[in-house]
Symmetry: C2
Subunit: 293 residues, 2 copies
């Protein structure tokens, strides 16, 4: 019988990563490619996937002729959108099998090896995901405008709101509000111009400033970090209530926010068993063993 | 000496209104025209202004040949933006004099006849404005994204946020959250699609629903109206602290929110002495008497 290989793919907006293991789980190679958020053009996404894949194969001494022995699993940004998945799958793939799910799902698969538990991503956006008995669901993660509590973008936007209050005299100024307003020459017209063009990632760039001032006991900084931690805690509480015995945290705000969360939540945090690439390998293996292609 | 006339103009995004009085304050006529937010094309805005003006003049038995005896004052949406005012004034006007300021300023002029006091506008957006000794300033009013607390748009957006929480199970469902989610077939994808295209006025259309459920003691409705009233109160408190002895409320949410505000704030509320059109007339008269054109 021909030897099988297992490829995990992590598809994001800026790059695509791939990891190849054999049936025993031994690491054979890794590679990377271009943007692969699957809402993007399917030809571009497949090109990114195959670039990352070929690099991983070549490290293993394999070539395109071996693609038919590769079972691939992919966790991708945008895979929650059925139409984007359909668009991607409208192109033929060269693998023995190809399974796709959201990047949250493969992060969860990796973190708990498919077992009970939940992940909480606290980055530019925020999202909770996980469950018990293989039944998973989202808590939050519906975007900047009306969701994403505890995210860097939400923290940055709330900083700007409170600085308008401080500028108006509705709340006392603090070193943090002075530092932020000084960036805009204390001119709210300039601040509002900036807001008009700002994306969530622009707001999120203020999160380190907030954390820095909070850690120096700035009252506004502390209030904003407490708010963000409270938002993250509300998501965590619901994930635990749904039956997840433990949580894994991901994202750039996970480590800084954790000490601000209630101790009973902190005590549920465990390190991930493996990363999202190994989660994607698990996704591909499960799909292959169920005979899907 | 030739007789003088005084024209007040109220320029908004959907229409332009005008009112003509003589030097003794007697009402001579009123008229209306098209959109005249001065961020719009200046030819369009002048056309709207002159349409409203001619209608008012014709009611007074006057014609275009009398425009040179008319001192005009205009309160306009967009007049806080210096470049928009410059663009408007790049076209010659036919009046004896023409003065322009923001719609908040003419509303305040009308409400307090130029005396001490402050106005608080609670509509789709929100804005505080006013002061003492002719020195006025804004409190709030910097837009939907990071300001406009207590506005209908902010209330509607917060409703959607809390309904996501209810859908996730982060907070209990209430009749209000059920009614809102039912509009989107309890499908958050649909709700998020709606959010992606929503403008502040779209969010504000949910304010009456929130008020209705709050008045029927829906816990979520009560929480949202309390939040909005607290935001409006924070603006009101600052306006009073700046020295305004009294407040006038404007906008569609003013009347419904007032009973939710603290009694010491409620006791400062007075009815406006006159409306924004008479405020615009006052603006035009003051400018004319200072010899401005």
């Amino acid at each position: 019988m021909r030897k099988s290989f297992f490829l995990g793919i992590d598809g994001g907006g800026t790059k695509c990563r791939a990891r190849l293991r054999d049936a025993d789980g031994a690491l054979l190679g890794e590679g990377s490619g271009g943007p692969s958020n699957i809402r993007l053009d399917p030809d571009l996404v497949w090109n990114s996937i195959l670039t990352a894949c070929r690099e991983a194969l070549s490290q293993a001494g394999l070539s395109d002729s071996d693609l038919g022995a590769v079972h691939a699993g992919m966790g991708a940004a945008g895979a929650g959108q059925a139409s984007a998945v359909e668009r991607l799958l409208s192109r033929p793939h060269p693998f023995a099998s190809f399974a796709i799910d959201t990047d949250a799902h493969t992060a969860w698969l990796g973190a708990f090896n498919g077992g009970d538990g939940a992940i909480l991503i606290l980055g530019t956006g925020s999202c909770g995901y996980g469950g018990v008995g293989g039944q998973c669901r989202y808590v939050g993660g519906w975007g900047f405008e009306i969701s994403d509590e505890g995210s860097g973008a939400a923290m940055g936007r709330e900083l700007l709101r409170r600085c308008v209050w401080a500028h108006d005299g509705r709340i006392p100024s603090t070193p943090l509000s002075e530092a932020l307003l000084a960036e805009f020459s204390h001119d709210l017209e300039k601040l509002i111009d900036w807001v008009g063009a700002a994306r969530p990632s622009d707001y999120a760039r203020y999160a380190p400033l907030v954390l820095d001032y909070a850690n120096r006991r700035d009252p506004l900084g502390i209030a904003l970090v407490e708010d963000a931690a409270a938002g993250a805690t509300r998501i965590a509480m619901r994930l635990l209530e749904l039956g997840a015995p433990n949580l894994c945290l991901f994202g750039g705000l996970a480590e800084p926010l954790l000490p601000w969360m209630p101790p009973p939540i902190q005590q549920t945090i465990v390190p991930p068993a493996a990363d999202a690439l190994d989660g994607a390998i698990l996704l591909g293996r499960s799909a292959a063993s169920r005979g899907r292609a």
